[in-house]
Symmetry: C2
Subunit: 453 residues, 2 copies
């Protein structure tokens, strides 16, 4: 088992991501803007799998939650009403000597910059743009800093068209944008990122109980997908760090290699947003409760998570390095890296490997690849020794390697090697779909070691 220090773990994962094309700085061939990333094939697939698991659980799986998709470009009226135009700011200070800028509310600037700083001024984090065909006639608009407002502005539409009754939720996954002053920590704080969030509308007075339930739902999402419970904790925001709309906020914190930090959050937004939009738009955004025979503005519980931040947590949680290799037989005795991702999150569900490049084995392996690709993302791989191919797929988290050998030609069976236990099953080729399907449904990954890193 490995003994590396945790900051070192972070660096190794960043290197792995770069080497395998999981995540790369955006438009890297030019001077990449900070905190904006592109995702190569395994990165896209991992992100998609996280989003699909979330969607299946909280949208498709729940009758009380409906999906919505609202626009990124948002007219300023919306974000004036929501309070973002006035309050979505960070305090910015600038070093008078080097002109670097820092957030005054963070531990930085580091000691070597603490010589001559300007007074803090409010810096609004929203990206601006302009809608319309000429400079003078253009209307100021923002790139949304969260997906929530599109759910509040559509509250009436959903009531009228989807016939929902309180308590119910609206759910959205989509891009959001924040012009962060200080970035770094890789995927942790991005200028362009995806949010998965729910606005859950409840009766006033039932908000505190629903808040607790959603904190629990959020925790279970992560632990059911294999995140170590020991690295997850709740952080209760003190009154002075609450957002302008929040009555209570609990962060789920994860123990990242650089320390405990926010992974996801649950906020009690009260009826603040609906009231503000009613005031600014002069539309009726009340709800008529048939049971109570009265109108009110529902309270809103908002569980939210950043997809890239979740991706970062799943990656660091799943990453293990085995100095000297995992088996006595390891050919090179080199260090081996394994991503013990939950099988449903793994970018590639299975790899199909012909043992050798002769005897029609590649042809059979390609057939199997094609059959399984109807259901999952499956890769054909014939390059290098079988051990080398196992290690390549361990490193990117592929749960099952299917090897086609000479016995396959005789009896139609293949071997299926498990990424975590390295155990091999002999499986009839025509049963592969059911074999893998059952293992995916079963869910929890077969971790071979304690969550030490």
């Amino acid at each position: 088992m490995n003994t590396q220090t945790r900051p070192d773990a972070m660096e190794r994962i960043v290197n792995l991501a770069k080497r395998r094309g999981l995540v790369v700085p955006s438009a890297e061939i030019y001077d990449s803007p900070g905190a904006i990333y592109d995702f190569g094939p395994p990165g896209v697939l991992l992100k998609n799998n996280i989003k699909a698991a979330w969607w299946r659980r909280f949208v498709q799986g729940r009758e009380d939650v409906v999906p919505i998709e609202s626009a990124v470009i948002t007219r300023r009226e919306v974000l004036a009403a929501s309070g973002h135009e006035a309050s979505f700011t960070d305090p910015l200070v600038e070093c008078r000597i080097c002109h670097q800028r820092f957030r005054a509310d963070e531990e930085i600037p580091p000691a070597d910059h603490a010589h001559d700083l300007t007074e803090p001024k409010s810096f609004n984090l929203m990206f601006k743009t302009a809608l319309g065909a000429t400079e003078e006639g253009a209307a100021l608009a923002y790139l949304r800093p969260e997906t929530a407002q599109g759910m509040f502005t559509n509250f009436r539409t959903i009531l009228d068209t989807a016939r929902m009754k309180v308590p119910f939720g609206m759910a959205q996954i989509g891009k959001s944008f924040r012009n962060e002053i200080t970035t770094g920590k890789w995927l942790f704080r991005l200028r362009e990122f995806e949010i998965a969030e729910i606005e859950y509308f409840v009766r006033p007075g039932e908000d505190e109980a629903w808040f607790e339930r959603w904190v629990g739902e959020w925790e279970t999402f992560f632990t059911d997908l294999g995140l170590a419970p020991a690295r997850l904790r709740r952080f209760e925001h003190p009154p002075e760090t609450l957002a302008h709309y929040s009555k209570r906020t609990v962060d789920l914190q994860y123990e990242f290699p650089y320390g405990w930090s926010e992974l996801a959050g649950i906020a009690n937004r009260t009826d603040y947003d609906l009231r503000r939009h009613q005031e600014f738009s002069a539309r009726d955004l009340t709800y008529f409760d048939e049971g109570e025979n009265r109108k009110y503005h529902p309270y809103v519980i908002e569980p939210t998570m950043g997809i890239e931040r979740a991706m970062l947590a799943f990656l660091v949680d799943a990453y293990r390095e085995y100095p000297g290799g995992r088996t006595q037989r390891s050919e090179t005795r080199e260090s081996e890296a394994v991503l013990h991702l939950h099988p449903r999150l793994a970018p590639i569900t299975a790899a199909v490997l012909p043992l050798v490049r002769r005897e029609r084995l590649p042809e059979i392996a390609r057939q199997i690849t094609g059959e399984l690709r109807a259901v999952w993302f499956v890769e054909y791989d014939e390059a290098g020794s079988i051990g080398r191919r196992y290690r390549r797929h361990d490193e990117i988290g592929t749960p099952w390697c299917i090897t086609v050998d000479s016995q396959t030609q005789q009896d139609g069976t293949v071997t299926v090697r498990d990424r975590d236990s390295m155990a091999q099953d002999r499986v009839p080729r025509q049963d592969l779909r059911e074999y893998i399907g059952q293992k995916l449904e079963a869910g929890s990954p077969t971790r071979t070691d304690a969550p030490a890193r």
Copy 2:
């Protein structure tokens, strides 16, 4: 069968979309910006199903195509190299009297605006924004007008990490943004929209053959999902309308209610983009072809489609109105609308309806809903007469209505009503998953009428 005129059909679909919350103007409670829309539950689900069908066919289903996700915010260097900063423009004219603006290359301005127009000037369609923490230190950036450039700038990364050999493709679905001068026609031309596109890299000299193949692939995508082949045709761009990078472009046109218009396109971008990015970034973007033992810039065939425009075509193609109802027994003899969408595209795969709200039927129906929701988007519906519920689901395109009646309690069977034929099957409850699964796999919808509208 209906006799309505086709422009009328468009208006009816817009009304249906609004009534059922498929598509609504973005942030409608304020003054909604033109050509930006939000999507309610059935709209999100329809979009997701189109994207999933595309992904399954062209990404998951093909070993020669890998997925990628690049950022929306793009530094100007990228779009200077691609030629968009100089050439992604439309000619804009303004009426000196009313100050309305028009595209000089379109049939508008209408007659009542043709009095006093300015000379055409070039208007760049890209939305601008600024990256960075102060006004003076900010870097100009654009919201990408297409997803393509993110694939070219990552060409080297994909070669190095995904070990692809020419011919191969990179695929991406993502938001793109264009500050259009003239909008209208609902979902046809949007300022914010999603593109699904592939950049397919081939040997120079093999580009023309690959171009033809991709035109065929693109057509088959639409017709396999039920679009009437008689409403689809190819349009060959004459040299004067080719984009600055294109050697040849073919549009797939669809006969929309307002006439034939672009649905999707295939362009031969040659080696223009890779050469330009190599020149501007000073990075080597050549490909070493082992078979030919030489380096070159691959040619690029780009099949592309807008998701909302595809959605519009699928909607208008699937929409039928039946004056007086579809059956002799129709209770009200009112006109009935049906969306004959391909079952895999339908927002709601099945509705589960208790015949009456007693005898534990609602409870059983909810159980079935929950079971099926593990796999598909399924809705429970108990509101109104059974005929009314059938019509509500016909209108939104739900292929199967599952009715739970008193016989269900006796023998465990339910009825499954087909949206198109209105035929009813009696199916054991525990076979529902297989029954629906097989029909979805079988694919082609059971249209009951000719593609007349």
